[in-house]
Symmetry: C2
Amino acid sequence: MGNKKLNTLLKNPPNWIDGKGRFAETILSSRVRFARNLKQFNFPNRTKEDELDEIMNFIISHINYKCITSLSEFSPLDKKFLVERRIISREFSKKTKGRGVGIWEGENIGLMLNENDHIRIHSICSGLNLELAYEKLNKLDDEFSESLPYAFSSKLGYLTACPTNTGTGLRASVLVHLPGLVHSEQIKKILEMLHKDGFLIKGFYSDGTMVEGNLFQISNQVTLGITEEEIIDKLHKMILQVIGYENNARELLLSNTRAQLEDKIWRAYSILKNARLLSNEEFINLSSAVRFGIELGILKKVSLQNLNKLLIFTQPAHLQESIGGMIDSTERNVKRALYVRKNL
Amino acid sequence: MGNKKLNTLLKNPPNWIDGKGRFAETILSSRVRFARNLKQFNFPNRTKEDELDEIMNFIISHINYKCITSLSEFSPLDKKFLVERRIISREFSKKTKGRGVGIWEGENIGLMLNENDHIRIHSICSGLNLELAYEKLNKLDDEFSESLPYAFSSKLGYLTACPTNTGTGLRASVLVHLPGLVHSEQIKKILEMLHKDGFLIKGFYSDGTMVEGNLFQISNQVTLGITEEEIIDKLHKMILQVIGYENNARELLLSNTRAQLEDKIWRAYSILKNARLLSNEEFINLSSAVRFGIELGILKKVSLQNLNKLLIFTQPAHLQESIGGMIDSTERNVKRALYVRKNL
């Protein structure tokens, strides 16, 4: 482990993946983030390194939250680890100086300083719980706003580096598992419906063409001309609708192709329990079948919580941090298979 | 079960697949058969139904071996079962009247009356043991020849319906498992070598293009101008040579691609232990990987004997006979998976 501050994270899975939230069988997590800027400074992409440090120091000295770590304290592997942990963005992980990271409440709350905006704060909760994520974040934002002069226009709302965030500066997203809609080939229809209704949906593990593990992230597209509460409420209702479609698809699949489905699920489980080489991609896809098996009550010996933990800890940087250094992909595949065999 | 005479066969695997013979880890079985004809009758393909019955009656009344069953006593499914059991040929199974079947010594010895020739007798032993198979068969043949006037020419030897059998009328064949040569892509070279040296080699489970389960049958091509003992000896030596090549290939594979090999073997084992649907073809291929795992000492909890038994009892007609009637291929795939889960 490059930075010792990550030791706790390496030992414990994040709170938001405990598999205990509402609809946890379909919804892995709910996330809300705010983009905020300080009025007296340029946006991070329009400023120099010195000013980035100045911004950092200003923020840290004005808020009560300690334990903000400079990004430069983390090794490249550490940063990949933080991306896998959903604490920092991939783009942010490529930076070094003048950036800060905060992690609180068992990873329910996270902070990036000088990403696209001066301040990005997010809150993640287990299952479908956008209200709680929003509530936690709002509380933190209120505290911050008491001591930090936010860039705010009475006409536009919060000003942000990218205009797509201007207004509320709020992005709410939900990580959903939709094997029923994928297997019954209804997913395209649902994607189109969501898009038409102003939501963004994309594969959570995706190279742009293939979606791995039937995991999708659904988020709001509009941040302007709508209240924060309306965004949360609209997304929440849409997710309930998607859950309804997913459940219908599952029931149909179960009654029409139960044998094939059970076969697929048992094979996936048995491969995870026995393989000696497992790529990250294959793990994600097989774990989707196992998740489906848990959700359908077919696989009773695996807990959702355990499977969620594996999804986090089998990622490339997690595997490498756990053994204390970089290894190539073949060796990772050996380690991943070993980890899964031991822990599933 | 159509014919009650098959009940014993449905309960017990044949002796020749007990996994206990020499080189049983590579050689499943050794088989020798004789083609014989009676001089006073036409060959079966040149005669009428009445004469077929006459030939049958003549043979049965002249030999001491009872328990010869008329083929017409078996249902179409029974006959498929007997083909899977290697007691009768596929061609023979399509016939009905004027044909007889004999099964003795726990299936070590078998007889077909009025197949291509008036008499076809075969002997099968476990592992590499052509000598024993030949010895048993020779003894039976001697007995037969005392009471049956064989069609024999002092110039040509035994006369047969098809000239490729004339002379000794002997076909010796060995069922070999060659995953090492297949995986290391040396099999083509070996096939060419065998062919050049006057041996026939073909996939044991094959549709003509693909060989399933890395199982090959190697047999002598020449029956004329060579003694019986020479045929047996030549084939035996060639098989020892093939075993040598196979073992070299295995050692190379193990030292170069151990992780991939172990992965393949464990996955195959786990799928067999957990699948809910298994086609015959997939079973044959996965069982090859498991067999390889047993042979390499990677899979220690499965016995060769048990795996051999599964190879026999998961065949389509075996599955159907065991539940007492015809079922379609999807239902067979369910039953096969269930049988394998329970018995592996």
